[in-house]
Structure formats: C-alpha cells, structure tokens
Assembly symmetry: C2
DNA sequence: GATTGTTTCCATCAATTGATGGAAATGTAC
DNA sequence: GTACATTTCCATCAATTGATGGAAACAATC
C-alpha cells in the first residue's frame, strides 16, 4: 500500500508534493498553532479546499511533515555514518559537523520543527512518535560512545542530545542570531561550524573514549 | 510612573500579579499562538474580561511576560557574576552552571519562552526587544572571553550563545527528554549539570583563554 | 447608608479558523 | 464526442478566538 506521504515524495511536482513542501516551510516557521491551513494554501497558490482534498485535516498534514523530516534526517545520518566510518574520532566529528550543518542550513525547517516538538506543547497533543531515542542511539554508536545500540547510558544519550541540539539551535536561530552578530550568511555558516568544533571536539577527544 | 508590570511584580498576590504568573506558565508551554486568553483566564480562575481589564490586549500581556522573564534572567546573571568573580575559569563555569540550571529548572517558562522567541516566528511580528546581545556580552566579560563589553567578537558571542542555549535546551526539553531517558527529576537535573560541565569546561579551559 | 470608584462577570461581537458539500473544470478511456 | 473519474474552486458552516459594553458585586469615603 502506498501512503499519501510516499506518493508526495515520489513526485515532488505533484500537488500533494507541492503542498507537503510548502507545509514544511510554513509549519517550520510558525509552528503548529501559528500556522493556518489558509497560509499553506496561499503559499502553494491554491484554494484551501484543494489542500483538504489531498491531505485531510490539518493534524494529518502536520503528521506527514513530521514523518517527512524525520526520514530526511535519518537518511542524512546514515549517509554521514558511511563517510566517517572507521576514521579517528576527531576526524569523524569534524566531517559529521560539516555535513550535517550544510544539509540543515539548506533545510532549516527540519531544525525548526524538531525544536518546536522538543520545547513546545501542542494543544491537542497527538502523539506523533519521533523516533528520537533510536536516532540518538545510532549517533552514539557511530561516535563510538557505546558498544551496543540497545544499551546506551543516559549520560551518553545526553552528550549526543547536546551536540544535535546545538546544531539545530544555530540553524534554527539564524534569523535571530545572524543580525545580532552582523554576519553575512556564508560567514555565519562558517562560524557555526567553527564554534561547534571548538566546543564539542575537545570534550570528546579527551580520555573519555571507549 | 509605575508600569503595570512593576505593579504586578511588587504585589504577586494581586490580580495583576496572578495573571502575569499564569501567563508566564501558559505562554511558556504553548507559545504565543498556542495560547488563548481564555486558557490563561481559566488558569487563574477568572473571567476572560477581567484579564483584559488588567492587561489590555493579548500582545501586551505577552510583552509584559517577555520583559518579566528578561529582567528575571538579568538579575540572576548579575547574582551569579557576584559569586564567581575573581575565581579561576573552571570554578567559575562550574558554579555558574550549577546556579543557572537550578534557577531555571524552577522556572522553566523562562527557557521555554526564550527558545520560542529564538526559533519561531509570531504572525504579527511585534518587535519586543530582547536585549540578548547585551546579556551575551556581559557573560562573555564575566567568563573573561573578552576585555571590553563593547567589543566582543562574533566568535566569542557564539561560544556564549552555545552555552546558554544548551542550558535552555535541557531545561525546556525536560518533558521530552526525561521520559526518553527514564530518569527521575533529581537524577535528570544532576545529569544535566554533569553533561554541561563535561562538554563546556574542556573547550574553554584549554589555551583559548585571554 | 448613600456616594463614588474599582473590580468582576455575563452576554455578545466580529473576525478567524478548521472543515465540508457541491458545482465547475480538467483530464482520461473508449 | 461521450462517459467517467479526478481535481479544483466557490460558498458556506460551526466553533473558536480576541475583544468590548454594561450590569452587577465589591470596596472605600464621608
């Protein structure tokens, strides 16, 4: 069976695909409650009922968006893991930070939406499963911070969370931080990478390695 | 002239004060658009029009909340600075992390609201000034990462942002992260402090000091 | 206890929002 | 071209939301 989401991803130029893409952007900027279905429809240039025809109720579309960015992120993490596999930790982190920040700076909705879900409540709390623990464990394994994906200590999970969240923070906070720092986009991206490496590499390249 | 906000803070048991306190909580949980004036009124146990009588329109109340938490944070930072002044950097960071996390874990709305403003847009963008740059410079000075408060490099500002945001992340994300880590509240708080110190102290106690 | 000012609530508004029915438009198969 | 299915839009609904006018309740002053 083909879900609407798979359909939309297979053909991004279809109406379903265009709506999904617009919904990612708008939900990412304004959050669930800050977004109206009319805003998304206007973004696509269609009538609101066309949107409902393709995606059903607002919550379902939001759910599809969350699934979409989750899969996107998972895919990228797997790609990174392939590249860095076997290299020494410092190099691994260096490359991973570069690849992840580049990817996310081109898709800031991902960071936005993830942070929205971490830090805000939705009035009609529908429990979209985020698969966060799974992600975090994979990264911990990839960083060689644990031996077994099924058995990651809380401390290690939190180290990984700190890294991922820091990345998301700088991506998602660009609109706020960059004017404040008076940097051009390129400079900002560069400085973000520098900062992340400056902070995270020393902590993990000490005696803490397995 | 006494502003409504000053009045509300001077007497937290007054209606103005009770509404402000409730507004902090609810706005903190659901964000600006996720919060309705009725939700706040219900939280206080009053009619919606009583709320409007005291605070005027929703945006004004939100503005007061933002000012309130900003002042709160500024005050705490000053207090911390007094305690850590003159001590060596490692100790300074150790104490600062302890004090700030303790303070914020008791007032998670602060972290919530700050992150909301960093990462989300509000439909009717009213530019509440956040005084963020000022804060960040003060912290940079307190950490001895710069000589002059008026002349802090973008790189240093970003280091400070990374620290503050990491703290806010763990406070604000407690509802999401703690169940995932299967920790009691006390354990979680302890592990947050450990994690923050583990990550940030090594980066700054190297050769990077002034 | 009557007068006056303050605070609270009830009733209600207009605008917005999520959502739908049904007609028109568009495409597809024969 | 006709029959049929799919897609799009217009008109509209009910519920929610921000906001207000005005009456009641309460408090203070004399």
């Amino acid at each position: 069976m083909v879900t609407p989401l798979e359909k939309a991803r297979k053909d991004p130029d279809s109406m379903k695909g265009k709506i999904l893409k617009a919904a990612r952007r708008v939900f990412g900027e304004y959050g669930f409650h800050g977004t109206t279905t009319r805003m998304i429809a206007r973004e696509v240039g269609i009538d609101i009922s066309t949107l409902y025809y393709h995606w059903g109720e607002k919550g379902d579309l939001y759910g599809a968006v969350i699934l979409d960015i989750t899969d996107d992120l998972r895919g990228k993490l797997e790609e990174v893991e392939k590249v860095i596999h076997g290299k020494p930790l410092g190099t691994r982190m260096d490359i991973a930070i570069d690849m992840m920040t580049d990817h996310l700076f081109e898709r800031p909705e991902i960071s936005n939406l993830i942070l929205f879900r971490y830090f805000g409540k939705t009035r009609n709390q529908t429990g979209f499963d985020f698969h966060v623990p799974e992600f975090i464990s994979d990264i911990a394994l990839s960083m060689n911070l644990c031996r077994d994906k099924e058995d990651v200590s809380a401390g290690v999970m939190m180290h990984v969370l700190a890294i991922m969240n820091s990345i998301h923070n700088f991506i998602s906070g660009e609109n706020f931080f960059r004017p404040m720092l008076a940097l051009e986009r390129d400079e900002y991206i560069l400085k973000v990478k520098e900062t992340l490496k400056f902070i995270f590499i020393p902590a993990f390249s000490g005696s803490h390695q397995l």
